[in-house]
Each structure stands twice: as C-alpha cells, then as structure tokens.
C-alpha cells in the first residue's frame, strides 16, 4: 500500500467505527505500541474521541522466549463502561491482542472491546477477529509485513518482505 491508499483505508475505517457506534455511549481509541499508536491518533483526529496508549510488555505470553522489555502504558481516562477500540497496525497470530486485552482489563472493565487493524495478514493462532480492517493481505508464514508510518519512520508505506 502507498501513502494515499493508507489514508483512504483509515478514512473508511473511521467512518465504519462511527457507523458501528452511533450512540454517544463513551467511545475511546487505544493504540498498541508501537505502530498502533500513530494509527489510533490519525483515527482519533477524524473521530474526536479520547485516545490512550498500551504497552503489552508485561502481559506477553512469550516472555520466556525473548529478552525482557517494557514501555509505559498511558490511559488517562476511565476505562470502565466505555467502548474501547483497540488499534494496531498488523493482525497476525492474535497473541498481541490477547495480551492487550489482559492489560486493558487491569485498567478497568470496558463495556465493549472492538478491534481495528490496518492490515489483517491471516494465520491466527487464537480465536481473535477484527471488527475494522484496512486491508486483508493473505501472506505466507515466512513473509513479513512491514508498516511504515510518517510519524515513526518518516514515510507511509506497507510492504511485504519475503
């Protein structure tokens, strides 16, 4: 995807989110570190809702397999009773989302959790499904999907690497 395609997808997703959540029942976006955060910010700009950041370092299920690392989670609003849309760049095995939901639960009990991802590349290992998808991209397990965003990487682009 190039920059224009990314922007079109995000705009469409923003509309879908409003369509799905018409009532003023307390909507908020939470971006999953790292690339989920700028995407959430772009969506939030179009939606005018509160936004938070989530680091899943403490809740990952693969802690014993990798060097330890954590970042700060920042959610300044009350999660209880809100409809939270988790936002990430790529949905793959679903384990990141599982960890994110556990981490989110420590902040409070959301009324509903929905999931928005820019890319769904398949190969789920857990029963997790997205509510809002920018683009479905079937991939082989050996491939890697890289999302570059201007805020973090200097330019917008989605590429598949073999």
């Amino acid at each position: 995807m190039d920059a224009a395609a990314i922007q079109r997808a995000l705009t469409r997703m923003a509309h879908e989110i409003i369509e799905r959540n018409p009532d003023d029942l307390g909507l908020a976006l939470i971006g999953i570190r790292n690339h989920g955060v700028p995407i959430a910010k772009r969506l939030a700009a179009q939606l005018n809702v509160p936004i938070g950041e989530l680091d899943i370092g403490m809740h990952r299920d693969d802690l014993a397999l990798r060097p330890p690392r954590v970042g700060v989670s920042q959610i300044t609003f009350d999660v209880n009773g809100k409809t939270i849309v988790l936002v990430d760049d790529v949905l793959f095995t679903g384990r990141t989302i599982r960890a994110a939901m556990d981490e989110l639960n420590d902040f409070g009990r959301a009324r509903q959790i929905q999931l928005a991802v820019l890319i769904d590349r398949g190969h789920r290992e857990l029963p997790i499904r997205p509510d809002f998808v920018g683009k479905n991209v079937p991939t082989a397990l050996t491939e890697r999907v890289r999302v570059h965003l201007a805020e973090v990487d200097g330019h917008d682009e989605v590429v598949i690497e073999k």
Binding site: M58, L63, P68, V70, V72, Q74, F107, G108
Partner: protein, 309 residues
C-alpha cells in the same frame, strides 16, 4: 539494547545504557501502581526468596510487594545464616533454596561480596539488596529515578551526599551511578567518615557543610549511627547533628528548588530537622513509591525474560 543480566549485584559494573534502560522500564512499572489492578502476570509461577541475613523491614517489604505485583510467589527468610554463627553456612542455606527451585534470590547481608559469592554457584537470579558497606543498587536506582523525574535529567546536576560515606553502601552505589550519568558529586561529613580516598572516585570531598549544600540541586542525607564501629570516628550524635545536621538555618541557605532526599529510616532531629523532612522540598516518600517501581523493573528484567548466553 537488550537486557542481558540475570543478576543485579551492583551499579559499578553497569553501563550507562543499562542504567537508563532500567530507569525507563521503571517508569512503566510506576504506572502499574496507578491502575485499579496493580498486578501484572509477568513473573507468574516464579518463586522469589527474600534472604535477609541483615534485617530490614522496609527494603524487604518493597521487594516483596514488587514481586507480588509481578505475580511471583514470595518467601521471606530472616535469619542469621551468616557463616559466622555456628551452624549452616551461607553457601549451604543458598544451595538449599536452589534445591527448592527458587528463581530469584534477593539477598541482604552484612558482609560485602555476599551476593557475588552466591552468584558463583547458584543458577537463580541474584539481586543485591545491600551487602555490607559495598553496594545497594536498587536504592541508587530509585534515587536516580526520583531525581530524573523531578529535575528532568541527572547530567550536570550538583548532587551532595551528606553523612557517613565510609560505611555506607547507599553512598557507594550512588557515587557510581551519579558519576556514570554525569552528575557532579560532592561528599560531605566528618573527616573520619569521609576520607580523601573518595576523590579517586571522581567526587569532591569536603568537611564544610555550608560549602557542600550551597549550590546543591539535590541533597541526599545518610543516616548516622553511633554504634560500636563508629565510636572512635566521632564523639557523639549531638556533635554530629550540630556540625552536619540539615537544620532550619542551613536549609534556608540551600537553593530554593534543591531536592531533599534520604534513604530512610530518618533520625528526626539528627540528620534532618523534623519540619524539613515533612516540607514540600522533601521527596523522601516519593523515593519509597519509586523504589517499588524500580524493584519491579529489576525483577522483571533479570528474571522475566530470556537473556542471550
């Protein structure tokens, strides 16, 4: 960078990058303390043993709470398992703990080098909670975290450490950490307790409290004791307090934004006047909160992941 150590034995051997990585990680864990559910599953199933040969309620409680907030199981052992007392040696005590599959051993001991001794033959993560006069790494880390939070940085700050430096592990760990991060460290106290040899560690040594606190951005007060070992070092607590205590008068001559720190427990009226300890320039209680976050970070990093061999 990636965190590669399974033990935290001291500050002296840490790189600047490692220290900053630790402080940044501590920020994440401080946030956990602000949530409704102050617990994360990162060390679930791991067993931590607090092996406190030298007693301490506050540090032990801090490590215990840190471990529990990471979902680890905690066992507290307070014993004189020093090899000085006839009976089980420290080595045997530790081997027994490993036989129980302890993953982390937090050790406080009156003998310098005790954690290094254990690290030679144990597989568990060894965390130094204070070894004699040598080091108290988590104290220096939480002190640095507090300074960084309040002042935004550590480099180029004037930090004065006041009191019994010679016998203080808190002083040594702070000296290593602050000099590594670029602070200007001044050590002050009686000449018998603050010998010139500490100039070789990159510090300024002075026995004049006025000079020591005048330009300080941070004043870290150490607890003074007058028991057996120190009886020949200075005549009395009274004389110490008169010459080196941070009283109201001296306090009024410090910089208006200078932080007042103390590792605790404080001797009100000796190192520090009661009012000053309670003033809004004192960050003594925040140090305690930050201590919890720092210890969670240390436990998580040393025992919560896989380090490349």
């Amino acid at each position: 960078m990636n965190w590669q150590r399974k033990n935290l034995l001291g500050i002296q051997e840490l790189t600047t990058d490692e220290i900053i990585f630790l402080l940044d990680s501590a920020a994440a864990f401080k946030q956990v303390g602000e949530r409704t559910i102050k617990k994360v599953p990162s060390l679930r199933g791991k067993t931590l043993v607090n092996l406190f040969i030298e007693p301490s309620t506050r540090t032990r409680t801090s490590f215990e709470l840190a471990a529990k907030r990471l979902s680890a199981d905690v066992i507290n052992i307070n014993t004189t398992a020093s090899s000085l007392v006839k009976g089980e040696t420290l080595k045997d005590t530790a081997l027994n703990l490993e036989a129980l599959n302890a993953d982390i051993i937090v050790i406080r001991h009156s003998a310098a080098g005790a954690p290094h001794f254990l690290a030679k033959f144990l597989q568990a993560s060894i965390i130094n909670a204070g070894d004699g006069a040598h080091e108290h790494p988590t104290q220096a880390l939480l002190d640095a975290f507090t300074i960084r939070e309040k002042k935004g940085r550590i480099a180029d700050l004037n930090v004065t450490i006041l009191g019994d430096i010679l016998y203080s592990r808190v002083a040594r760990s702070n000296i290593w950490l602050l000099t590594k991060l670029g602070a200007r460290v001044t050590l002050a106290g009686p000449s018998t307790l603050v010998p010139r040899v500490f100039e070789q560690f990159g510090c300024r040594v002075t026995h004049d409290i006025e000079e020591a606190i005048r330009d300080a951005d941070v004043i870290n007060l150490l607890r003074i004791q007058h028991e057996r070992q120190r009886k020949t070092m200075f005549p009395s607590i009274g004389e110490y307090a008169a010459m080196f205590g941070l009283n109201k008068e001296r306090f009024s001559r410090t910089k208006p934004d200078a932080l007042i720190m103390h590792p605790g427990p404080i001797n009100r009226g000796v190192e520090i006047d009661s009012e000053i300890a309670d003033s809004d320039r004192s960050v003594i209680l925040e140090q305690v909160t930050n201590g919890l976050a720092v210890r969670m970070a240390v436990l998580f990093l040393c025992a919560g992941g896989k380090h490349e061999d």
